[in-house]
Symmetry: C5
Subunit: 307 residues, 5 copies
């Protein structure tokens, strides 16, 4: 894993921001080069579907649950909208934040209209919040729907966001999702690899992709093409839907050690649990991601043991 000196600073980070970029990169990867991103942008993305329902712990009904987890668990960064950070950040100053700059609800389906998730906050607003409050804002995030009829809007905003974020020493994470009427199989490994490559061409530091599938099944080895296509842009994998914790950790371990990813972005799989369980699960994920822990060791963390 990289020492601080190994961090390659992209050239669009100006001299005066290079030290900050390096520190942000170190912080977001906890000096490991690996990213454990706790995703909490679903209040717009999925409305209340991820926060309230039969299989969801009541703790999750309150948005503050996300901040409690982010504060108590070991994470690389907590991704959510600027409005949420502004509202709760004052009470959770220890949390490392990533401002998710665009979001859309899930109401309009692709069958009705291709997806457009447009910027709702500007990089400059994230920078202003950081600079005025001293909050630990390490980076910004953005979702790109490749293959949407609105792709030109999102490619433009994405490239601009990299440029503006790097200009202020911020790390970028892009959610790269092929989606739209033109996209037949969002999980096709070759297409997922293409998505990682687009993130590289846009200059993003990290690209989150969904786990590719062949014949309808996930297989960590299928990620290798994406990891290669991403080049110096680190590929991390989505945590996906609610599954068995042990299975989840095994998949994550495989993604990293077989697929070659450099981390994960996990949301509802963490926060739909009680605070205590969420923190332990989060820590288990971090152990695998950041410490190269085995699945067995991580499982112990889940069940309350330490390793």
């Amino acid at each position: 894993m990289p020492s601080a000196l190994d961090i390659r600073i992209p050239l669009d980070v100006p001299a005066g921001e290079q030290e900050r970029y390096r520190e942000n990169y170190r912080a977001i990867t906890r000096d490991t080069g690996r990213l454990m991103l706790f995703a909490g942008d679903q209040k717009i993305e999925h409305l209340n579907d991820d926060f309230y329902g039969e299989e969801i712990h009541p703790d999750d009904a309150d948005p503050e649950h996300l901040f409690r987890i982010a504060s108590q668990a070991r994470i690389g960064v907590f991704a959510t909208q600027l409005g949420m950070i502004a509202r709760y950040g004052g009470d959770y100053r220890d949390v490392p934040y990533l401002v998710k700059l665009n979001s859309k609800t899930n109401l309009v389906k692709t069958s009705q209209r291709d997806p457009l998730s447009s910027e709702i906050n500007l990089v400059q607003q994230a920078v202003d919040l950081r600079d005025r409050t001293g909050l630990t804002i390490l980076g910004v995030g953005y979702t790109v729907y490749l293959g949407s009829e609105y792709e030109p809007v999102m490619l433009y905003q994405a490239a601009q966001i990299v440029n503006h974020a790097h200009a202020h020493g911020l790390v970028t994470v892009f959610w790269m999702y092929p989606r739209g009427k033109a996209v037949k199989d969002e999980r096709d490994p070759h297409l997922v690899a293409g998505a990682a490559g687009v993130a590289a061409a846009l200059g993003s530091d990290f690209a989150k992709v969904n786990p590719p599938k062949a014949d309808g099944k996930i297989d960590a080895a299928l990620l290798r093409e994406a990891v290669a296509a991403g080049g110096r842009t680190g590929v991390v994998c989505a945590g996906g839907s609610h599954v068995d914790m042990q299975e989840f950790l095994q998949q994550l371990h495989d993604q990293i050690h077989i697929g070659g990813t450099v981390g994960n972005a996990t949301g509802r799989n963490i926060h739909q649990r009680s605070l205590d369980e969420a923190v332990r699960f989060c820590n288990a994920i971090s152990a695998i991601t950041l410490d190269n822990a085995s699945v067995e060791e991580a499982n112990k963390i889940c069940t309350g043991g330490r390793y």
Copy 2:
């Protein structure tokens, strides 16, 4: 109810505006944390339908009726368009105002085209009016139609409005309405909760939602999911269509004490009455909202008694 010290100031309010934001928040909630918003934006939203007709008192035909009520009744804030405030505000300097920043007519139905209500005035213009005239402008309002094909435009404007309003110490109230071809049931409690959660993610101080229904019936308990999803964003409920005053007050009481809302936004139900009756009804609503009055006590105010 919160004392001044309990008001949590979001971090997007800069230091130099925090005192003003706190004062505005106290004023708009009359030091109770609860919001009694008198809504008067219908001259665009509903054209003349709310102001002239069989069941409507002739007093309501004149726009000044709204200002007379706002001036004589006890309210938290009077919401209307900037043009109206500029025209009448000079004669009603005692009224606390909230500038409704977007509006659309009801002519184009969702079956023809999904709703787009776009900004017609900018936060800066509300700020300029306040700063130049000394009017008591406490906040700004905005309607978001979630699930509309134009949702990206409104999410963007909404997030920007929170940022700009807070930058100038103004309180924000968002009308959160799921609407569009993709929305099958606007009153679904889970969807209404999602709408409240979006307001939270956008960073708004208050979210006005329509009363949720299950099996076609309203039930104040259905609001609890929305109130939880809103978190620190206060959820207030729409006053809805013209109903019996007593029934209205009972519903409002239930919304607050069963549903957990922190207030109401009521418009035509107030202003379609004669000035005298409107003021009394308004005061009844305020008694429940701001003073925790019982329905009985409030009814007395309606009928002209005091409690």
Copy 3:
């Protein structure tokens, strides 16, 4: 009729421009509070249909005809596009002007596409022309098509125009026309009243509406709802299509004295006549509008007598 002191200056007129606004308002209403607007924006709106044809006097073929009338007749203000004012205004410096800021041709019908009339000149350009040349530019005008699918564009531009115009002491006149696939009856009195109310909510000083009809017939009493809905926004009525002069004057008289309007906006009905007849008819209209002349007196002016 109002003395200068009675003019209510809206609050979006800054202190430094209030005297100018008051003077402009006095001038445009010729100290009567009533508006006689001579409309000459049809070269874009109706192409050459209003200027050349069987029933049209040859004088009208030349655009300068409009300026000759405006210069020789007694009017409140002459409304036309900035380009026209720039071209002819140097030779007609005595004419009071209102810059019509948007225009569209009549080629694309509503059955093909809903109407969009977008700004072609900015308030600032009208202000610059006024300030640089000393022309008497008293106000600006704008058409809003309520119920069009492009309504959001026009509501935005309209609200901005009021704000910018008042910021520079200019009076605003809005043409408020319900039109589009969603509009079944443009002349419905309740809808026309709604249109007047929108102008009030936008903060315009005057709203021009088309004469409402019930059962296909105009009736000045139908205007009362609109006049009430407009509140402090003065409602003036369109002159409409070419009709008998005497009938026209009777209708105008009824609009004012029965309907409660504060003036008229008349175009082709004036300029399709020879210069001499146009001037006399214009003066007759002004006599009714500005002097409370009787129809009989006005008719005398038409026929060349004086009263």
Copy 4:
């Protein structure tokens, strides 16, 4: 023909630019008030259709052919895109230029989509090029497709261009073409007159129209309505498709002396010939336009004689 003192300077030309505007107007009309515009914008408008083919002289295949003609022939102004002027203008400093600010190809037909020709260069860029290089840039040009569903875009850009061009002392020429699904007969004399009137309302100095037709036949007298409608905006006529030179000159003579136009805009009819023939034909056109030469005299110039 006007002396310099007769040139009416529109009021949107600021005092500091009036002398330049007058000089530009004199130069573009060669002190005659008449315009001989050599149109060379077809490389975008018609792709290579006008420059290469069976009836076209090989000289025309090279874009420099246009500049050679413009340099050697007697013209009022040569209209082409800024990119062309920037590329060749250094070698053709004697040519008077007009920057054509918008252009589209002919690939998308009206049956597929209504025409939109949007600005590709800004007035300011033409001004910068003039001021930095000392090139003789006398004016700017723009095409308006009236009746297109994109008409609002073009009316806006057109009105802005007049304002900006006059602000910098530049003369404007507008190509006024009714076109779109809503336009049944582009050559209808009444519609062509309407187009000329729109140019007047936009404030353009010149309007180029296509020759109107009645019953499918051109007739110079049909132009009179357009010339009247243009008022002080000079109407010039399109040179049209490749026809017999003598016939062309007769038509031009008729347009001016019967129709009342003040010039012509001719492109492919000139440049599809050999350099020598093109120059002679160009000079013949100029003789009629600028010198009131007879058709006979002009024909002599075509055949190489002088008159």
Copy 5:
């Protein structure tokens, strides 16, 4: 081939940037007036299709492969997105770069929607990167889809890019592709010539076109019309799909010596090979392009010999 003094500097290059433009032009053509452009923008344009698959060497899976080739082979310039240059450029400072300013994926086909490739980075951002880092950024590139319903957007951006690029001394290369529902035959020689002519009218320094075909067959002589239409805008030809190296070199030789092109733009045909073979093939292409080498000599370079 031109000496430095022969380079014609377009007039939109200001005096202070002329020396830089001349140096950039010399560098990009390696003092020959010919352009050997190594195209590496396919990570967005073609996703991972060009980088991973049966016929593709594994070296190509890693984006750095492109930089290794660009660094080790003899090229005029390496074209790729700004994000890629920012990420890898620090380790490949010897490479001459051209920033490709727009890109789209190949997911949405023309049958679904006409192509729009919109700017993702601005000329100013390329300039800033150059000026801050000292990287050798010689120019910018842009793709124009003529005949697309979005043509107006791209013509505008293209003309603006020439203006801004030249203002900063940068050379421009435009990919000129007729494409859209309106385009029946993208390879039609007359249409390809039209595309070259548009690039000339836009003022670009170079235009890349696809090899025209007659009766479905390419023929270098068909390029002559395009080369003529381009005028002083140098026409270079696309390298096209993966073909036999020798055949490729023969075609290139014919394009230059029969068709009159001034170079080539080649991408996947180079980088889908192993590093060693790619470098040799690249050098072979450069030998033909820059040194007027024969096909035989170039083939020797491919096979590892020198000539």
